[in-house]
Symmetry: C2
Subunit: 321 residues, 2 copies
């Protein structure tokens, strides 16, 4: 099996696994699949879920696309070669309940070929990040710890590096560098080396992608029955506005797709189902909404900070001395 | 009074006139004003209306901004000079009732100075365009006719030229060149000539801007009491999604503001209050929603086409021959 075939099978298995986990958690809605062809070469399987018990809108998409390297790719993307190939999985899940976070992930491989169709370059990218509407610090730690555990099995430098890359990518630069959420991991342009070969990177992507259920579904199960008010839903829709702003103004993948005749509906599946934009909306100081916004404005080192419980414990001890 | 002072007074008077017309039509909500300063020079008056009887969200903003020509402006905007000045009015009004269209307009002047603070270049731009959710052909004709009447008093070539520029600017290029709405007029980089001097262009902007009530409020008054269903509101929110896509992905003014430390809340005031994004939503063939979408996909020459009434009349006559 070629590298390409191996990666395709990983991505399709990942899509099946994730869809099964999401459906089981939802208990009502199931995915429907749109298969599409790309006129210039390749196509994809877009799987969409909507109006579930738990998930208001979501998509788990795979695509396998290829073609000639165009002049636009040479100048705008600085890609040199005769032909290219890309295969990846991309998902965004928007839950109904504002206490359940939105999740995004993407795992992909890119290959470049010369005129003889020999591989002349190959790189891997990917990551998973969380966008809560209300901050539960234990959930943030659980999410980051899950990916740190995967990373640490491959290279101890990965988690801190990829966590940092993630914090610096999902940023609404126009809003005082407010982050879209509380991050996770993100890596790109990772090429095989003697020590970390192609199998290493495929395996890493595979393991990260398949940590989805442990990282995310665990949190959903914990929060999905939480009671919420109209005010909570209102806040979720305001924050979803920030999601739209990031995806349409800053996200390189979305903009590249929109400007190069990608499949629009598969690209924009990432946009939240219902959204609000209000003039200069600001949560009141000290509220749960305010704390969530602060966590987006100031990325935190979730696995190396004093927890609220620890702070309380220390305060109690110092009071009893 | 200098050109600058004259234009500033035109813009502020226009803001007062438009706000008064909008408030009178709404009958409940009134504008509140946020005055803001720009650290690099100048500031603005953002006037916002929300949760009215008729208008769900709207902003009528003026700004007077100036500063040194930066390196970024020289390279990205191809502007040469020592200092610049810009003054304009910008408005977007989103009504509650899906049978009432959204309107946008913008009138502005830009000046460039040399080191001695002498004016070395000056141009005018502006326009008004309509975004209905349901198509009433008589409203489309009324809107276009109003601006044609203003244009024709200045130059008979203006309306066809500026109508065309408008159709080719407010375009969601990523959606098969779907237009944001049914257009109007749009002009830019208009410089004084011997025949059409600075006063001519100031007067033209003034007359276009002050045609707002005749062009738009007339339509609002006709439709504001129309009964509507949840399905109509749903469709309005889907189409508002297209408004968001255009403003965040394509609109040069919005993107320039977001990327150059503009006042974010004044820029993003244009975004609709509530929005829906659904995967691959398509109105059923032949419905009112479908007809609206078709009118956006294929811009029409509203003032030179056979009307439905005329077609009916001809069909009736040919049947009776």
């Amino acid at each position: 099996m070629s590298v390409k075939e191996h990666w395709i099978s990983i991505i399709h298995q990942m899509q099946d696994n994730i869809c099964a986990a999401v459906e089981a958690c939802d208990g009502k809605a199931i995915f429907f699949e749109d298969k599409w062809d790309r006129p210039e070469g390749g196509g994809g399987k877009t799987r969409v879920i909507a109006n579930g018990n738990v998930f208001e809108k979501g998509g788990v998409n795979t695509s396998i696309v290829f073609g000639d390297v165009t002049d636009a790719m040479k100048t705008q993307l600085k890609i040199n070669g005769a032909k290219w190939f890309a295969c990846g999985l991309s998902l965004v899940i928007h839950p109904l309940n504002p206490f359940v976070p939105t999740v995004h992930c993407n795992y992909r491989m890119f290959e470049l070929y010369n005129e003889k169709e020999e591989v002349i370059d190959r790189w891997f990218g990917g990551g998973t990040d969380l966008t809560p509407y209300y901050l539960f610090e234990e959930d943030a730690r659980h999410f980051h710890q899950t990916y740190k555990n995967v990373c640490d099995q491959f290279d101890p430098s990965f988690y801190p590096t990829f966590k940092n890359t993630c914090d610096n990518y999902f940023v609404n630069w126009h809003r005082n560098e407010e982050r879209r959420g509380i991050g996770g991991i993100f890596y790109d342009y990772q090429r095989a080396t003697e020590k970390q070969d192609v199998d290493f990177w495929m395996n890493f992507g595979n393991r990260c992608g398949n940590a989805f259920a442990e990282a995310y579904i665990t949190i959903v199960e914990k929060r999905k029955h939480a009671a919420y008010t109209e005010a909570n839903k209102h806040w979720q829709e305001i924050r979803r506005g920030r999601y739209v702003e990031f995806n349409l103004v800053h996200d390189r993948g979305t903009l590249f797709g929109l400007k190069t005749n990608g499949r629009i509906e598969s690209i924009l599946m990432s946009l939240p189902p219902t959204v609000r934009f209000e003039y200069n909306y600001q949560p009141a100081f000290g509220t749960a909404e305010y704390k969530m916004q602060e966590a987006c404005l100031h990325p935190r080192d979730w696995l190396n900070e004093t927890t609220d419980e620890e702070k309380d414990e220390w305060a109690r001890r110092s009071n009893t001395c």
